[in-house]
């Protein structure tokens, strides 16, 4: 269970709860400022109205420009950081907080928000088809060398955002598994499929996330491939945690500058567990390392499995 992971991480559950509560409170503070800073609907500046099949009104990337961009970035990050602690404490609350972070990220034009929504499990009820489809079209545009000046989500020019978009698409049942889809061909041909651009707080080489996304898209993935990638990411995570624990002052106060609740690992675990089940994922991860993986390394994986498992039990 995720809360057992806190013992393995040598973290006091009450202090982690305080950290999560503080971040939630700070996020609400920042969100209130963001809402007050919202321009008029007929607004100044450039906006692009989009419609989602599930939404009743237009969706706008309303936080793309300053001064709202800074306020939104502050809000989204705080919600996300709160969720990173909550995955070890309260999975239902973690999902809601992830979704709140996700929506602000999307409103900033950051595809990373789609990944968080997929991880939170909200794609089944709020897939945001058109935004996701438009983002994938942007990926194809980049790959084909087209004019990207009018792209819907310019942040996609960053490889990291492309990787998260592909993970979201792979983990979403909303996207048809059409092997001839232009964006899928773009994914296969992209240099990032073999690339080393660092992604996430651990600096994971992008090729790992690209490969995971490819497997997720298959619908029936080769889970041993995903298991191998997760095992390697988890080893890097465990080493980072070990180094962070040297600064006992910051570590005990849940203030170390590391992502204890790593959402790359937990998120991939959640997306995969929904397809192959918790035991199937565990077997794949442990099988790739002959069972030799420290309890600390397993912490974010188990948290991700909980994110996927509890929703089936209605928690």
């Amino acid at each position: 269970m995720p809360e057992g992971s806190l013992r393995d991480l040598h973290l006091d559950q009450d202090q982690v709860a305080r950290a999560a509560s503080f971040l939630e409170a700070y996020a609400e503070t920042a969100n209130a400022e963001l809402v007050r800073g919202m321009p008029a609907p007929q607004g100044r500046g450039e906006t692009r109205a989009l419609k989602s099949k599930q939404h009743s009104g237009p969706v706008q990337f309303r936080y793309e420009h300053e001064p709202l961009f800074t306020l939104a970035a502050d809000t989204a990050s705080a919600f996300r950081d709160a969720a990173q602690w909550l995955i070890y404490l309260d999975v239902a609350r973690a999902r809601k907080t992830l979704a709140r972070a996700a929506r602000v990220f999307i409103s900033m034009g950051q595809p990373y928000g789609m990944y968080l929504l997929a991880v939170a499990g909200e794609w089944a009820t709020d897939p945001m088809y058109e935004i996701l489809g438009d983002a994938l079209a942007g990926l194809h545009l980049i790959s084909s060398g087209g004019d990207t000046r009018q792209m819907l989500m310019p942040a996609l020019l960053h490889p990291q955002q492309q990787a998260y978009l592909l993970l979201a698409a792979g983990g979403s049942q909303a996207i048809p598994r059409d092997s001839e889809a232009p964006w899928l061909l773009a994914m296969e041909e992209s240099p990032h499929a073999r690339g080393v651009v660092p992604v996430g707080s651990l600096g994971t080489p992008i090729r790992r996330l690209w490969d995971v996304a490819r497997q997720l898209f298959l619908g029936v993935p080769d889970v041993s491939v995903i298991g191998r990638h997760l095992a390697e990411m988890s080893r890097a995570y465990a080493e980072t945690i070990e180094l962070a624990q040297v600064n006992d002052h910051l570590w005990r106060h849940a203030a170390a500058p590391v992502d204890v609740g790593d959402l790359d690992i937990a998120g991939i675990a959640a997306l995969t567990a929904r397809l192959v089940g918790a035991d199937g994922l565990r077997d794949a991860v442990l099988g790739s390392v002959e069972g030799r993986l420290a309890a600390v390394a397993l912490a974010p994986i188990e948290a991700g499995i909980a994110l996927a498992s509890d929703e089936r039990r209605g928690q």
Partner: protein
Amino acid sequence: MTYDTVVAVMIQWCIKGMALTDDNAARTIIDGQGGIVCNWWRQVHIITPQAIRLKLTTPNLDRHVNHFQEIDSATGRPFSELTPFISLSAGTIERDALARTNFARRARRTALWFSTDFGQRNYGYLFTCWVVVSPRPNVEIEGMAEEVRELNVYRRYSAFQTEGEVVAKIIVPDNHIQSCEKWDLTPKRGGFTRAWIHDNPRFTPPERLANVRELI
């Protein structure tokens, strides 16, 4: 032939979060006109230029950043009690960095976290100030603050150096401090609200100098 070397320094706005006992203690930092002094000075009361030179060293900076509460073998006391450094929050939000990392943090958030004693209190005191920062490490130079992001290679997103932590030395002078604010956690509103702000009448704006880096 000789060349003059020009080193561009920055004025960096920062916030110092302090977990103080009450409003009076917070206002006294402004009204006392003594600035924000390091724990070392507060403990020993009298310091000398020679002693300062011996304190401002790279190993001591490493102890401040990475071993804050460990016992210093030179003194037998936790390093935190006799540190010559003062941690400040500068924040970090930059559009391209955000796209690469999905990580952003304003100075206020970090300062508030420390000022609430890591979430153990429902109130905190924030001091807004400015310091002078050079682009290169210069721990021996008392009047220049340090950006310490390079000291921890294990930090998240280390490839992009996102942490906005700045360290001042010995003192943040009184006229560098703009104000003190108290922030309360208000459960009904679900967030923090600013309870009051206490301005420093002796504050000197940094705009007289060039290269001001705004508070994020």
